[in-house]
Homo-oligomer: 122 residues x 2
């Protein structure tokens, strides 16, 4: 019985919300509410994550094996017992990278179509 290694391509394209979550988890583990805060901050408030949307998407990503709940290592000083931390799985990182590449190609297409300027125009 060949252990089917899941391919990143099968998960593409990601829903916008899901990619935002993976992107916020890329530097390290976060809890749900922090994901909401950081995502809104990163987009200058352009993208607003509703709680219903986030927690359901988060559970979906866990089911899909892209994200995993982690043991609470934040017992330092200010730990809120209610917090639940999540981290990328290796697969989740691969999928996020593949999606980022896909978006990069889309941006290149937008530059080729002269919708937006190329980064370094001589």
């Amino acid at each position: 019985m060949t252990q089917r290694r899941p391919s990143p391509a099968e998960h593409l394209p990601l829903r916008p919300v899901e990619f935002e979550i993976l992107l916020t988890l890329a530097p390290g583990e976060r809890h749900g509410y922090a994901i909401i805060q950081e995502t809104e901050a990163r987009s200058d408030g352009a993208v607003t994550l509703e709680t219903g949307t986030l927690y359901r998407a988060l559970h979906r990503l866990v089911q899909a094996g892209l994200v995993t709940p982690t043991e609470r290592r934040h017992t330092d000083d200010s730990d809120d017992e209610r917090r639940r931390y999540y981290a990328l799985t290796p697969l989740g990182r691969q999928v996020a990278a593949a999606e980022a590449m896909r978006l990069a190609r889309l941006v290149s297409a937008a530059q080729a179509a002269r919708l937006i300027p190329r980064p370094s125009a001589p």
Copy 2:
């Protein structure tokens, strides 16, 4: 009565399908079926536009004032009477540009998080 000039930001973020359509219309007017073909070709078949999804999204974009039906100028040689051509409105072009910038920031964030390499790494 102040004629309210519609702001591009109100239309963001676009649905992925809608941005694909605007991107394909950027070089010039296209008919529906051609949008399907070109979009699939641009993404190497990664993104598949279903007919139901496309035509409904197209009508939505017309309603939103981002896309407008054009007079048929393709009466040259091979004109299919069934074809309906669409083009970007000035607003549609602004919205597409704004969305492309948003995606570019997302890609930059993915690079900063070391999910994907930066274009020119020294």
